[in-house]
Amino acid sequence: MVELGINLPLLIAYLVTFVILLAILYQFAYKPLMGAMDQRSERIQEGLSAAERAREEAASSQAAIEEQLNEARREGQRLMDQAREASQRFRESEMERARQEAEAFAERARADIQRERDAALEELRAGFGDLAITAAERVIRRSLDRQAHEELITQVLEEGESLRRG
């Protein structure tokens, strides 16, 4: 035993050294390191789940946006249809009105023309009557030759003309 070097106090000294080393390491190294590692893995776990959550959120909001977009598209379509229909109706009614107006206008014009013509005819008739009577009077009064007739007629016509003018 002695030749091997076994020594009881020395053995105890080593045990004490070991225990002190263990205590110091436990207090100042193992505990903080373990805590730091736990904290870090916890943090990483947290980060991962947060990322997962964010991705889910993004997916759901993406769906919501899609939904809203579709809604808006449908709404727009509806409005456009409505507008097109309204404009169509408006155009038709306007065209109808225009046509009626035009027709009324034409009607009125036509009536005016008719009246004017009637009046002109009346006037003309009256004029011609007088003219014819005047011409006949002249013809009868003068000797009848061709030359004279011609001149007479021309004169009458001119008179009629000037008469009409007057």
């Binding site: 070097g5 002190i20 390491l25 390191l33």
Partner: protein
């Protein structure tokens, strides 16, 4: 290009210096001095298994067999130490061959003295504490280089423990197992750094020029049988403690398996025999732990010292590489076996 050439030149120079030192070492070493008649660079080292006391100085004197300690020595500088520690005067007085080389009497079993191995264990402990406390001090969320080295070592040991014990038990067992691991590892590696001191610093006789080293100031703790024995006892107590704590008194059923015999079954005899074997193997672990580490560390130290004696200076590089590996392996084995025994003790109920 110039830097590459310069690096190449430096490498070449270093290689030449190495070869020169190797040849010089061979010439002045033990083999060369026989062949060429040169004077030896080192005295032949003496191998002794027991550690040598370095404090108190009365114990140093006594173990070296001096009644009057030579002057010009460190021991003389503090003669007051004798007053505190009265010389234990039983054994060891009779061997007084001062002419004999490396005369040395080991400490008696019950006498306390601080030995060179204990000093080196303290140095190793301080290095461990510095390393880990500095590494664990800042606790930054994003670790720096040193912190991440410490943490990755820490995590490696923890994963090793988890792979044997499972994560829950590993966390509980971790402090003791890791401390065993680092204590063995750092003691083995620190020893390599301290080898120059081993050959150069210590107590001895003679003057400044013909100084003869007889007690080394520092020596690897693993070469002191008490250190492995202490670790083995720690490991043993630790394993038994957890066995008891997890399985309760049922833990002892493994060793004292009288159950079947008391129920009158003859096969119970086998159980009793197996229980006795278990008990013996449990106790033999202490011895095997102790001598595995002690043997490896002592053999490594002897190898280093002998190579230094045979071919001084640089031939030891290869041995150092080997010893680094041996230190790591011994640390892994010591911690690993503790883990395995622990897992056997804790999970015994299941089969």
């Amino acid at each position: 290009m110039p830097s590459g050439a310069a690096a190449k030149r430096v490498m070449l120079l270093a290689g030449l210096v190495m070869v020169a030192l190797l040849i010089a070492g061979f010439v002045v070493g033990a083999i060369g001095s026989q062949m060429f008649g040169t004077s030896r660079f080192l005295d032949q080292p003496a191998i002794h298994l027991p550690p040598q006391p370095i404090f108190p100085f009365s114990a140093v004197k006594e173990s070296l067999g001096y009644s009057d300690y030579p002057s010009k020595d460190k021991a003389e500088a503090k003669p007051t130490a004798d007053a505190e520690h009265p010389p234990a005067s039983e054994a060891s007085g009779h061997e007084s061959g001062a002419e004999e080389e490396h005369h040395f009497t080991p400490l008696p079993v019950t006498q306390f003295a601080i030995t060179n191995t204990l000093l080196s264990a303290w140095v190793a402990s301080l290095v461990i504490i510095l390393f880990f406390v500095l590494g664990a001090r800042k606790k930054a969320m994003v670790p720096g280089r040193f912190q991440s080295v410490v943490e990755s070592i820490f995590e490696g040991v923890l994963n090793f423990a988890s792979s044997v014990l499972g994560p829950d038990m590993a966390r509980k067992a971790f402090p003791v197992v890791a401390t065993i691991f680092f204590f063995v590892l750092f003691n083995a590696w620190i020893a390599l750094f301290l080898v120059p001191l081993y050959q150069a610093v210590g107590f001895g006789s003679g003057g400044l020029w013909d100084f003869k080293l007889e007690a080394h100031l520092i020596r690897p703790a693993g070469t002191d049988v008490n250190m492995p024995l202490a670790l083995a006892l720690v490991s043993f107590v630790f394993v038994e403690y957890w066995g008891l704590r997890v399985l309760g008194l049922g833990y002892f059923k493994k060793f004292f398996a009288f159950g079947n015999l008391l129920r009158g079954r003859p096969s119970g005899l086998i159980d009793v025999f197996v229980g006795i074997l278990e008990l013996i193997s449990e106790l033999v672990r202490i011895v095997s732990f102790t001598f595995r580490l002690f043997g490896n560390m002592t053999a490594g130290e002897i190898l280093v010292v002998m190579i230094t004696f045979l071919v001084p200076f640089v031939a030891n590089i290869f041995v150092f590489g080997l010893e680094l590996l041996v230190g790591l392996i011994q640390a892994v084995i010591f911690a690993g076996l503790t883990l395995v025994f622990l897992s056997l003790a804790v999970h015994h109920e299941e089969h």
